[in-house]
Amino acid sequence: MIYAVWLPLLMPFLAVPVARRGAEQLPPRAAAWALTALALVLALSSTAALGTLALAGALRLPFVARAAHLSPRLLGGGSPATVPAATLAALALTGLGALVLDRTRCHLRELRTAHRQFHSGASAGDLCVRRDDRPEAYALPGRPGRIVVTTGMLRALSAGEREVLFAHERAHLTGRHHVFLAATELAVALHPALRGLRAPLSYALERWADESAAQATGDRALTARAVGRAALAARAAGSSARPRLSLTATAGPVPRRVTALLNTPAPAARLLPGSLACLLLACVAVSATAALDAATDLHAGIEVAQGEQGHAAFGDGD
């Protein structure tokens, strides 16, 4: 247990770079599912490992041991690192719990504010128009989901391109893409090393919505033009003046989306190159089994200690 329990905590550092490579080779929909599932499994495994560590240490505290009806002496010596590791794990768990709660509250409040704001005003069907010259458009999840678009964006696009925009945002809403994002945010909160999965996931979701829009409008070139012109208009208007430090010299997300749309539709879902897929599956499996293994070990240890306690109870005064 002593060693297995560390694996889930370290696994994200190996799995994230592999997953980033792998996601580029999958069709967008599969990539979004795979990245989200990976993030959740790794995060939950690492949280379980932290829990196991903390519990193993807690059982050495006399009052906890008494409450659990076990004899601390019979838990085995453990390693000298057990107590400091448990303390750290307990601190980490407390911090993570607070962080997740805080994020969730913040997230819900933001959603509520946004909905309240758009409740009144020029809306028709699922469309909410804001008077603003800076081109912006996004999907606001909820019941009902809404497409929020500024007048600046509507004016920057032709009628056909506006249909692309609406189809794209509707694909986000009907595909419930915000659930993928929220699940991954939760995973990132539980294990910060999973941060690296954010960008590939949001790219996969945009590509997914782009493909849906291309299918809905039946025109890939028009879809590509809509995405490209919207981005150029937004830049020209200076609405996104903040340069992103993370962007490399190679193409950022928007040109890659446009290129993908202009290219002929990708050949039917070629699976991940075998080695990458195996490596990722191995990461997930190792992470999950290690967490499970550690927990089972601890449980077995507790059972032994409890059983012995039953026998020892006769002579044990304290």
Partner: protein, 141 residues
Amino acid sequence: MPDGQIDEPAHDPVDGRTDRRPAGELEASVLAALWAADAPLTPGSVQLELGGGLARTTVTTILTRLHAKGAVTRARSGRGYAYAPAQDSPGLTARRMHAELDKDEDRGTVLARFVSDLSPEDEQLLRTLLEGEPAGGEDSV
């Protein structure tokens, strides 16, 4: 994958679309056309602006419905009406929205935006792509 939202392109454009597309989507398209225009539009010009995919009567019906909801205003123009989007209190809400948007990086979880920010290199590349020039397979997706 949302299906059945828009009929296949080969379909007869006169009536077919209106039956296939949900009313809410048509309303959105019509309202967007009004916002994109600089001046009030008659049903005829809305139809023209939307590329002739909708029948004139359909456009008129949608405009009437939007007017009943208070999303558009109308004024007499010749024998019919010209429609303009209803203005809501402009400055305040726009500022508030941007305050929300600019607030923090976490907004990604709430708001999936249509396009992300462009770097100068992206902008150049994008212009090349849209002009129909091959970008020179430097990035493979």
